[in-house]
Symmetry: C2
Subunit: 416 residues, 2 copies
């Protein structure tokens, strides 16, 4: 048997959640632990309660809702379907949200069909997956899976100068459940691809084999401010010029190493940031990603070495800070195989592929069988208000999620 | 005879004005038409009144105070000593202020000595010389000398989104005198060099022969925001990379053209400015300066052409906006000669030199004999809280200013 999901109900919830923090022209902005995020959490939690699920919240705001097993118990290790509901500053309606509301739809569809399972099934959303306000990203899942330190993360200061702990309390999102309270029997995450591959190849499903490694570095260059007209070029210590040169070096690294190496300079800031003053300080971030840890380390080493050289040439000082670092992750081969076979059984076209983006699933991978399902992103666009996946592209993903979740949770033979 | 100035009185005023908008570590921030600027204007205007001078303020907030001629009249064309009291965001105590308070000291010294003149002598400060909040710089003097349009300038929007007109009214700095009300017989400006030349050569005075040409351009590059991990490098339209490349091109232009060509990228901004998002928009400014208009035009042409190429290579759009453009200015040869001869007469070591920075004096140059006097800047540093010129370096400058002003105003023979 396979579960029949209600796409209209699911789309209705996606659009209703999308109204919170909505941006002109579409998309939305719900940076982690802001009032917008708080409103989103409240709405989704209300939906959890409406289905009579047992809702839990832990010390860093991760929230999950458990559907009991066929004996009515909720204390067994659950099959968890999860993702996140926070967004970047120019986010879309589907990134993260699809995995959470898709999981909720799976549970409601099981209820509608009167299907019970041998294990509990849970749906969850994790705090600050995007890392747009607080670095590193995947913070909530990283903490409860033992890959990030709770106290260190609570003390992390965001781009607006507020700590995670203070932000949690400001919106009342800090729960009581301790780190480790959520221990899944298996973890499944449905997500939009956020890349152009599936659309380009006309495929319905991406069976995700793993996640590429990520290296986020912030560079702060200190020089000397000086008058733009009277200071000879030879006497300058221009922090901005060093920052610009490091940005172009990052691009050169991606070019020289070739795919799948990518490099991105997303943030750049000059101080005092005035037209006629040589910048005394410049700050920039470099995001490096590769599926091979060895290559990623080589890219990082070249970037750090060249940055030092470029700063020295301009007689500037360079400070380097690691914002995030994740090694490439391989998902459980059996679970990956099960997702592929289920896709075949449902007659869904698919390909195996690594994820180009970081996801909460990679935090669970070391501790329990974990896997991901991708559906296409129009034009490969994400982290943008034009992010879009059509309802008819969502149906196969949620149906496959239900199929795999049901298989992992165990169809209870003694159905009422 | 030569005028004896009171350096303690002058330094006292410089330090008192410096307390307004004072920054930790020294220096101050009095951006044009802010509450800090308003407080500075009020203090200096009180000093004008305290000397019984006739105070005037025009429609863009320029303020001047007239000392009557020997017949008690103030309607004759005055010899004007002026500069500005606004600062950049990380300004010092002397840039601009020295020319205004130095002029005030000259007038009080003439009073103390009972010296009367055939022409009135005036001291003035002009609105928004720095251009740090509103572009272009030298706005107040530019408007009243017919080089900038009043209505256009009043409608100019600052970095904080407020127009010049609104800012004037917000601090009550808009006066009644029309454009052109101030028509000097001669214009004299005492200023710190803001460069390293005089100190390096151990000279007391810079006899300024003119001002180098200035070209300020703002570039806005539009690309497409995209996910930093899943978007192949070949599919990116990264506005930030174009901005970084334009910044390095500006540096290359200064290198290839050689001194006195200078190029500065003082402002740089990315949007959305997030670690894991390819920037969809980048804004930067380029400040080009040269003493030769022909060369400056060549530098500008190369910058504009390369910027277009760099944007096209990344499939981004480029918008260019002129923030300021001034041709090189030559000061009145007779006045320059008179400053040099007066320096010789006072046994002051000096050299003739162009100004590397823009000054209000260049706005007056086309309409009346205008000239400038430089005193050394420690380490050539300006637009920085460590900007410094010692009292013993200021005395020669103010004494020379008095000498030249008195010669131009005409020593009245019928003294008391």
């Amino acid at each position: 048997m396979s579960v029949v999901i209600n796409i209209d109900r699911l789309m209705g919830r996606i659009f209703e959640l999308g109204k919170i923090g909505a941006l002109a022209g579409g998309g939305c902005k719900r940076l982690a632990l802001t009032p917008e995020d708080a409103a989103g959490r409240a709405l989704v939690t209300d939906w959890f309660h409406a289905l009579g699920l047992e809702v839990h919240r832990d010390v860093i705001g991760n929230t999950w809702a458990i559907r009991p097993d066929s004996t009515g118990r909720t204390d067994g290790a659950p099959v968890v379907m999860g993702s996140h509901i926070d967004t970047v500053g120019t986010g879309g309606l589907y990134d993260g949200v699809l995995g959470v509301l898709g999981g909720l739809e799976v549970i409601e569809s099981l209820n509608d069909a009167g299907i019970e399972t041998e294990r509990p099934i849970a749906v969850a959303f994790f705090t600050n997956e995007e890392g747009a306000r607080f670095a590193p990203d995947m913070m909530g899942s990283g903490v409860i899976q033992g890959q990030l330190d709770l106290d260190e993360m609570l003390a992390t200061i965001g781009i607006d100068g507020i700590t995670v702990g203070a932000a949690l309390d400001a919106i009342g999102a800090r729960g009581n459940e301790p780190v480790g309270a959520l221990a899944p029997a298996a973890y499944l995450e449905l997500h939009i691809e956020q890349g152009p591959v599936l659309e380009a190849e006309g495929l319905a499903i991406g069976v995700v084999t793993g996640v590429q490694g990520i290296s986020w570095t912030e560079f702060v260059i200190e020089g000397a401010s000086a008058h733009a007209g009277t200071t000879p070029m030879t006497m300058r210590r221009d922090a901005g010029m060093v920052a610009a040169a490091i940005a172009l070096e990052a691009r050169a690294i991606a070019r020289d190493f070739g795919p799948p190496q990518v490099a991105t300079v997303g943030r750049m800031e000059f101080a005092p940031d005035l037209v006629n003053v040589v910048p005394e300080r410049a700050t920039l971030t470099v995001d490096l990603r590769h599926t091979d840890e060895t290559v990623l380390q080589q890219a990082q080493a070249r970037l750090f070495a060249r940055a030092e050289e470029l700063a020295a040439q301009e007689h500037c000082t360079l400070a380097r800070r690691r914002l995030a670092r994740f090694e490439p992750v391989n998902f459980d081969p059996d679970l990956v195989e099960q997702v592929a076979q289920s896709a075949t059984r449902l007659n869904l076209s698919y390909r195996r592929m690594p994820s180009g983006a970081g996801h909460d699933a990679q935090m669970f991978a070391p501790n329990c069988p974990s896997g991901m399902i991708f559906v296409p992103s129009r034009d490969g666009i994400s982290h943008n208000i034009t992010e879009f996946t059509a309802p008819e592209q969502i149906v196969p993903g949620v149906t496959l999620l239900a199929e795999v979740a049901l298989a992992r949770a165990g169809y209870a033979q003694n159905q009422g």
